[in-house]
């Protein structure tokens, strides 16, 4: 897994590539926990490069969404591949975290 964090003004984008599973999830958790040490309130998970997600990954997304809500922030996702979207749909997580077709649409939603 590879995580690249960028920001445009106050919107932060985590581009997550590769596999998000029980082995790799601690790395994402650590990066997110670091990010939460700052006071940001706008976060996008760009999943264009994400090949695979399991329940370990879903758990991090859910805890992140809850933390964002607790600080009146917003989390959304962009560019889910079909197999990743299936996991979000079956688990009902698609109703918990807004998902957009393009990164631009996700960023617009956070403006």
């Amino acid at each position: 897994m590879e995580i690249v964090v960028t920001n445009e003004s106050d919107i932060f984008v985590f581009a997550i590539r590769g596999r998000l599973d029980a082995v790799t999830v601690p790395e994402l958790e650590e990066r997110i926990n670091q990010w939460f040490e700052q006071s940001g309130t706008k976060l996008v998970f760009d999943l264009d490069g994400l090949d695979y997600i399991s329940s370990a990954g879903l758990r991090v997304f859910l805890t992140t969404a809850k933390k964002m809500k607790a600080r009146d922030g917003k989390l959304c996702m962009a560019r889910l591949r079909d197999n990743v979207k299936d996991v979000f749909t079956i688990s009902g997580f698609i109703a918990l975290i807004p998902a957009f077709e393009t990164l631009g649409a996700a960023q617009d939603a956070l403006q």
Binding site: V23, Y52, S54, S55, T63, K66, N83, V87, A95
Partner: protein, 137 residues
Amino acid sequence: MSMLIKQMPARVESLHDLLTFITAEAKKKGFSEEARQQIELVAEEALVNVFVHGYAQNQGQVEVRCSASDDSALTIEIRDAGVSFNPLSLADPDLQPDLACRKVGGMGVFLIRKMTDQVAYRREGDSNILTMTFLNR
């Protein structure tokens, strides 16, 4: 019917090797990429359950058996000798669409149920055995 067996320490460091073993079998059987991704996901959920709940201090082994019958179904058995535990006894999680109410966890077994064609648990001697079957459509 052929059967392939792989045994490894029941800890997360074994996950990728075991998944590679399983998906290679699925590929040999001609499962589509989409189907293989579902098989891989279900296998991870079942294996991680064993890693987390099976043994105290990661001291045990997990065994994966892949058997392929002529009707092109793939059956995966996951065996451990940890504490007696039937994951299928867990209630489905509440798929609460409200973020504040949605509980963290419980998704692994739910995904196993949703993405297998058949799943069964049995306790045999000192072993937990989870059997999952996937049909090649």
